[in-house]
């Protein structure tokens, strides 16, 4: 029997990529690099399970969790900045971006104390396969956080001038591009934290 039913139509949303196509190619390339890094860590661990399990316990899990919360919160604030711009609340964009920048800076501060602690204990890239991955993987991510902060600072500078609003398509495109990059940095850490600090 053929049913003649009209499905309740959802409000048609024009599917589109938030931000520039170029930034999404860049994000895809970065995600691929992190994927290779994650897999290399996990498969190297499979050969040195006891070593990885033992040395993982020397990491500061509290610092890792705090940093996850800082990045998630920074991402949330950046979302609010974009939403304020979309809604035409131009004077709200800069404060939200500044709040995101502060959380991101908090991540940097926590990470620097973690590195100081490990380097102070004489740990280097050549100490063991685990520390080689811990230092290089987190530092590779750390560099992305720094670039993300530079991007947030640039967006904040423009937001202060009231550039971001639905009436300025080019500026909105830039805001979406920068925000997408920042979320990518957050996304990668969501995998990195359990992988390096918790999974055993």
């Amino acid at each position: 029997m053929e049913a003649n039913v009209t499905l309740p139509l959802q409000k048609p949303v024009a599917r589109h990529l938030p931000g520039d196509l170029a930034i999404w190619f860049f994000i895809a390339a970065e995600l691929l690099a992190f994927c290779v890094f994650f897999a290399a860590y996990a498969f190297t661990r499979a050969k040195h399970v006891e070593l990885f399990n033992a040395e993982q316990l020397t990491l500061d899990r509290n610092a890792g969790a705090l940093n996850t919360i800082l990045l998630l919160t920074a991402s949330y604030f950046v979302v609010r900045a974009v939403q304020a711009a979309e809604a035409g609340l131009k004077d709200k964009v800069a404060p939200w971006l500044a709040a995101g920048f502060l959380c991101g800076s908090g991540f940097v501060a926590v990470k620097v104390t973690e590195y100081a602690d490990k380097l102070g204990a004489g740990i280097t890239l050549s100490t063991s396969p685990f520390y080689m991955f811990y230092l290089s993987l987190t530092f590779f991510h750390f560099m992305h956080v720094l670039l993300g902060l530079v991007i947030l600072a640039i967006l904040w500078f423009h937001a202060r001038r009231g550039n971001y609003g639905p009436d300025n398509a080019t500026a909105m495109n830039n805001l979406h591009s920068g925000a997408s990059y920042w979320h990518m940095v957050d996304l990668v850490w969501i995998i990195l934290f359990p992988l390096v600090y918790v999974l055993r």
Partner: protein
């Protein structure tokens, strides 16, 4: 330079706030499992599931890919599936 027209994005601040709170709660769950010293297949599966759900929320809600062309949504969600599968495989390989 192409001429851009602004495509409005659905704004739902309440949903974003709820997603953010759920992400924080999920992070505390991951941290708690770490404190417990959880290990073995069940722990790995639970931790990977939490990480995958968190990542999915960031991809769809924060990155805004829910309303992106299906190709891009597929690329990023596909990346997530690939990463989780590779990690699961490697941990399975390392099981005693």
């Amino acid at each position: 330079m192409e001429n851009l027209t602004h495509t409005p994005v659905p704004v739902d601040t309440r949903r974003s706030t709820l997603v953010w709170l759920a992400l924080i709660a999920a992070t505390l769950a991951t941290w708690g499992l770490g404190e417990e010293g959880a290990s073995g297949p069940t722990a790995v599966a639970a931790l990977l599931a939490i990480a995958a759900l968190k990542s999915r929320a960031v991809i769809l809600d924060f990155m805004g890919l829910r309303h992106a062309p299906l190709l891009w949504k597929g690329i990023v969600l596909g990346w997530l599936a690939l990463v989780c599968t590779l990690i699961a495989l490697a941990y399975w390989k390392g099981m005693p």
